[in-house]
Each structure stands twice: as structure tokens, then as C-alpha cells.
Subunit: 389 residues, 2 copies
């Protein structure tokens, strides 16, 4: 654990098939007027909405509804939510849904009482709300495992006019105060969405793992989470009603991106940067933009961090090292990753997401540069995109 | 992740070789009068005391000193601290030391304003402080890695008259508000103390790992932590000034016992129960009582949870499974554990700690029963103790 850092994550997690029974008590410390935000309405058919409304009633809350949060929440939708939160002077925002809905709730929580251009201030310039600016507390009821938004300060918003999908990571003020994690709430999700979430988790872990050459405990924990996710993903694809597998996936998602496994080490978020640019162009499901780019990206950077890729092959995929040189072993690890992507039904290239050759220049231009083993140039990104087609 | 649970750990961790620079700011939210508690005075020779006093002065605090916390803090010492905290009406307790000192601070924090028999109420009956009882906030500056007390509610107190060493786990009210984790603060520790701490960490992980046969993400994370600890322990024993190794050990200690890796699974704390009974009889170093008992204990219960022990051999110790039946593999894992205990300079039996045959009945009587793969009887404990001599 080289480097200095702060770990502080005060989100209270209620986990299990009866987790929602804690919602009334969890809401108690907050004010009476609750902005209830959710997505397309699937929660009204699977029973989650009824559970939530019952808890809100038992807690004596006045509810203002804000439905219609889309998979990649837009700036226009953010502005709608801010206007409503302010006009109704709500005390609390309860997000019921997956990462998009929770991301959205945090965006509204930060922006509603900000006087100025919230997009410019929070997402473009990455500023935090000023200490004296009012920020609304957020709670979450999770219905899809993947983004980890339930226990972090992340909020990804898409500016459709500018074709920009940008993530902001707020500090602890914007982390959910609590999250209800009931694995059964994810059972009614279409399998393709489940698989997209699984790959999002895997990518979060890999993007923290594939950087640096120091011996950090964080890497060993990351390997443990990946091993668990791989086992559970196979079980869940076979039987999406496998509670144990779905619960492991949900728990892995939370810990993949609550800052824990990135502590004390460098990270490389290029797969997300490229994936988000693809998402802004195609509106493709987030997790699939990541799986579509990953094999090409990791093959491109492999030679700059070969030892870590060889370790990945051995520890995560149980590939024996005997008789293989480091390069062969490293390649075998990425091959195993690609095979697993196909096995669980995710996509291993981007053309199936609707990306065409003529989009590549635009996607490259929209990609925020960074890197780990290799600092990426625009030309590098273009090469990766061509290889990923 | 079977079962329902709550995860809530709001302790703020400042980690790194400059972590102490955050102490002044960390103290700011709390009242002006600080009870500063520490152990035998080693912090006065290694510079830690000076750093802490400087931060307290910069924060404008009035300091009441309470030195002399012993390795196994006694009830008599607890009562002394409670009387002082109450008489001086302190606002905050700052513990500077290892787990004993932090455990002690939490004990005083819970007990100082309790009207009644604190030992009976908190440690024997395991009650929590009533909601309207005053509890003092605690902060920690860690100088020894091992117990994990810096990020949990645990507090072990020894009643020397009754020869009872009992741990209480308080809820989030008694968790430290913050902890300063500077790996360099552990550099001046004698190597035997470092090794005892390393084994304490390993035991915390194993006691959560060796129970249950469900497929839980917690087990995979535990394996990652053990793999990291083994690598770092070998480096630290070779060179105790290896910052990277000492920092991994410190971080592993915190996460081994902050409730994370035990979530959603059964646990088996018999090694601690037996070790604590030995500690009450011999005043031996805590971590060595655990290493002295572990090989005999795990060999005793192995056949009741053989598959997990075989997995331990493969994943944690990289022992190839080829050509071995499950029992052989399971045994090889415990053999590897015992060899590592000796390699790092811990003890693999209890006679070297001063335990003699005539004590075994008394230690058995003082051992709180429990178990995981095997519910232990008093006769079982006696057998384990005889085998561990």
C-alpha cells in the first residue's frame, strides 16, 4: 500500500432477501418530504414499488414522484429533477433502480441548490459542492447489480447535445446514506441486463488491477473478487434465480467500486473512457460497451505490463504457468477473459453494438485520455477501436 | 452471501507515511478536553508521542494523560480510566498504541458514564450502552498492526481475579471515529511483536474462513487477504523496515477484522476462545497463543470441513491438487500453515508459552465453547490443548 490516502465510506448497507424491512427505519432520520425517483416502471410490475411505497408510508413521508430516469441519464432529465426538487423543497431523494437511477439521484442532490451551470461546474470542471451549498441526502434501493453506485459518490450524466457522457466522483457528502441490497430484487431483470452488469463489475475490478507493479494488498483482494464473480456469473447465467450466485454478484458489485480495491495504487480507467464515448454515440448498454472494448484494449497494452497479465492468468483463471513463458501466459489470460465474455453472453466486439467505421474518429475525439501501463494517445485509442470492431 | 446482515463502518482511515498530518483536522470536530491514553511509553522514544502532542496542541486541545495500558488491559486499569475520564469530564479519548490500547479506550468510552457494574453489563452480559447513556468518542493512532481494533467495535478486557479474558464487540457508536495508520509507526516494534501481530491477522481471517460450505464472496476476499499477508510477512521478517510489506500488513490487519470478510457467513472463533483462556493463565502475547493452538485445533476439526481445508491448500498455499485426494490436500494445507508459523518465528505449540499440563483443566474451564465445522465440547478443547502442548 504505497502512497497516502483516506478511506471513508459511511454508507450503511442492508443486505439480504429481507433487506427492505429496514427501509422504514433507515428513512426515519431524514425530513418528511421524499423525492422518489425511478426508471421505466419495471418496479411497478415486480413488487419493488409496492414494498417501497409501503415503507415510505410507514415512515410517514410525503412522496413526490419522479419517474422516467433513462439508462444513460441525460442533462435534460437532470435539469427536470433539479427543478422539481427545488420547487417541492424535498428533504431527501430515494433512488429505486440500478446505477443510472442512483447516479441520477446524486446528480440532482448535488445540483438542485447550486446556482449556476451544474454540468459545467460538477461534471466538466469536477468541482465539489461548496461547504455552504445545500446538498440533499440520498438513499438507494438497488434493483440491478453492476455499477456500485449504491456505495460511492459516482454520478455519470450524458449531455446528448454535446455527445458527452461524463462521470463525476463526489466525496462522502454525496454517497448514499443507506442502500437496500436485496438480491431477489434483481431476479426479474432481463438476462442481457444481468450479464451487462456482471461485465461492468469485472471491468471495474480490472481497471483498478491492471496498473502499477508494486505489491499491494488491493491487488490480492481484487483477485479474490474476480474469482468469486467468475464462479457466480457462470451459475447465474445457468439459473438466474440462483440466490447465492445473484447475492455474490450484488455484493461483488458494491465492493468493486466503493474505493476499497483502488486504495494505495494507480488505476487505469481507459476502458470506461472509451466505453462511455461509445455509449454517447450509440446509447448501447454500458456494460456491453466495456466488454466490447476490453479484449482489444488489454491486448494493446499487454506488453507494457506483461507480468501483471501473467499473474492474472494464473491467479484469476487458474492457468498453469508450467511450460509457458511470461508472454504466452499473459496472452492466455486475456484469451480466457474473452472466452468468458462470450460464455456468459456478453459481446467481445463493438460492431454488434452498432458502432461503424465512420464513427471511430468521433468516438476517439470524445474519449478522455489517460492510462496505466501505457499512457494512451488519440492514435492509440483509434487503433484499439479498429481492433475492437 | 446467504443470510441477512447490515454492514456499517463509518471509521475514517488516514493511511500512509504522512497520515499523522491529518490528526489535527481529524480532532477538530470534537470537544476541547482529550484523554490521551497509551501503553508503556515506547511512543516517547520513537517520535510518535511528539507527533501526537504537536497535533493536539495545533488543534487547541487540553490534554489529560492516561499512560500505562498493559498488553492485556485489566479490569482494574479500566476502572482507573473510567474514574479519570469522569472526574475530568473529557470530551474525547485518543488511543495511541496497538490493539490493547484501542480496546481499552473503547472500554473506558463505554463504561465511564455507565452507572453500574460495567464488567458484568458489557463483557459478561454483552449489553450495548443504552441509547440515552453517554458514550465518549474515540480516535486511534495505531503503532502495531494486528488486532484490527482501529476499525471495529471490539474491546477485550481481562479480569485478573477471575482469570477471565473476554471480548465484547460494540456497535458503530464505539467504533473509532478516525484512525491514523502510518506503517512507519510500527517500524520500532520488536520483531517478535510484529510476528505476533501477523499471526493475529492470519487467525482473524482463518476464523471467519473455516466455517460453512456455501459459496460466499467473503471466502474469496479472505483468500486474497491471506495470500497478501503471507507474501508480506516473509518480506517483513527478512527486512522489518520494508515499507511496502509493513504497509500491506497494516492494511490487511484492518480489513481482516472490520466485519467485512465475515459478512453473510458463519464463523468459528474457537482459536481465539482457547487463546484468550491461555492468555488469562499465562499473560502470553495474544498472537502467539493463537499460533500455538492453531495447528492442533485445525487438525482436530479438519475432517468435519475437509473440502474447505483442501481449498485452503490450493488457493492460499498454491499446493497443486493433482495426484492428491481431498484428505491429503487438506492435511498439506495445515502442514503449510504450521511451516509458515515456524518460518516467520511464531510458535506452533503452547508449552513454549509457559503452559503446563496442570493448567489444562483450568484453561479448558475458562474457554467459552462454540465452533464451526464441529461444535466443541470441553473434552474436545482438552484434547486440542493436549495435542498443542
Amino acid at each position: 500500500m504505497l502512497g497516502n490516502f483516506v478511506y471513508y465510506n459511511p454508507t450503511k448497507l442492508y443486505f439480504g432477501d429481507e433487506a427492505q424491512k429496514n427501509l422504514t427505519a433507515a428513512l426515519a432520520p431524514f425530513g418528511p418530504k421524499v423525492l422518489l425517483t425511478y426508471g421505466g416502471g419495471s418496479i411497478k410490475t415486480n413488487g419493488v414499488y409496492d414494498d417501497v411505497i409501503k415503507a415510505l408510508q410507514e415512515a410517514g413521508k410525503e412522496v413526490v414522484e419522479l419517474p422516467g430516469v433513462m439508462p444513460n441519464p441525460t442533462l435534460a432529465k437532470l435539469e427536470e429533477g433539479c427543478a422539481l426538487a427545488k420547487a417541492q423543497n424535498v428533504d431527501f431523494i430515494l433512488a429505486v433502480g440500478g446505477g443510472s437511477t442512483i447516479d441520477y439521484a446524486k446528480g440532482v442532490a448535488a445540483s438542485a441548490w447550486y446556482d449556476g451551470d451544474a454540468w459545467q461546474n460538477f461534471w466538466i470542471e469536477k468541482n465539489e459542492p461548496a461547504a455552504d451549498q445545500r446538498v440533499l441526502p440520498v438513499g438507494a434501493v438497488l434493483t440491478m447489480a453492476g455499477t456500485g453506485s449504491e456505495m460511492n459518490g459516482g454520478s455519470v450524466i450524458t449531455n446528448t447535445e454535446q455527445k458527452l457522457k461524463i462521470g463525476k466522483v463526489f466525496g462522502s457528502r454525496l454517497m448514499p446514506k443507506f442502500a437496500i441490497l436485496n438480491p431477489k430484487y434483481t431476479f426479474s431483470l432481463p438476462v442481457t441486463q444481468m450479464v451487462a452488469g456482471i461485465y461492468d463489475i469485472m471491468s471495474h475490478i480490472m481497471e483498478q488491477y491492471f496498473s502499477g507493479d508494486d505489491d499491494s494488498t488491493s491487488n490480492y483482494v481484487a483477485e479474490g473478487l474476480m474469482r468469486s464473480l467468475i464462479v457466480s456469473s457462470r451459475a447465474a447465467v445457468k439459473n438466474p434465480q440462483d440466490y447465492e450466485a445473484r447475492s455474490n454478484i450484488m455484493w461483488t458489485a458494491t465492493w468493486a467500486l466503493n474505493t476499497f480495491i483502488g486504495k494505495g495504487k494507480t488505476q487505469d480507467w481507459m476502458v470506461h473512457m472509451i466505453g462511455q464515448a461509445i455509449g454517447a454515440y450509440t446509447n448501447a448498454t454500458h456494460g456491453l460497451t466495456l466488454s466490447g472494448v476490453s479484449p482489444a484494449y488489454y491486448r494493446f497494452i499487454m506488453k507494457f505490463g506483461q507480468a501483471r497479465f501473467a499473474r492474472f492468468a494464473q491467479v484469476v483463471w487458474d492457468i498453469p504457468a508450467e511450460g509457458k513463458d511470461e508472454e504466452t501466459l499473459a496472452k492466455a489470460g486475456i484469451d480466457a477473459l474473452e472466452a468468458w465474455i462470450k460464455e456468459i453472453g456478453a459481446v467481445a466486439n463493438i460492431s454488434v453494438l452498432g458502432v461503424t467505421e465512420d464513427m471511430l474518429e468521433g468516438i476517439t475525439a470524445a474519449t478522455v485520455l489517460g492510462g496505466g501501463y501505457k499512457l494512451m494517445t488519440k492514435a492509440d485509442v483509434l487503433t484499439v477501436l479498429k481492433n475492437a470492431l
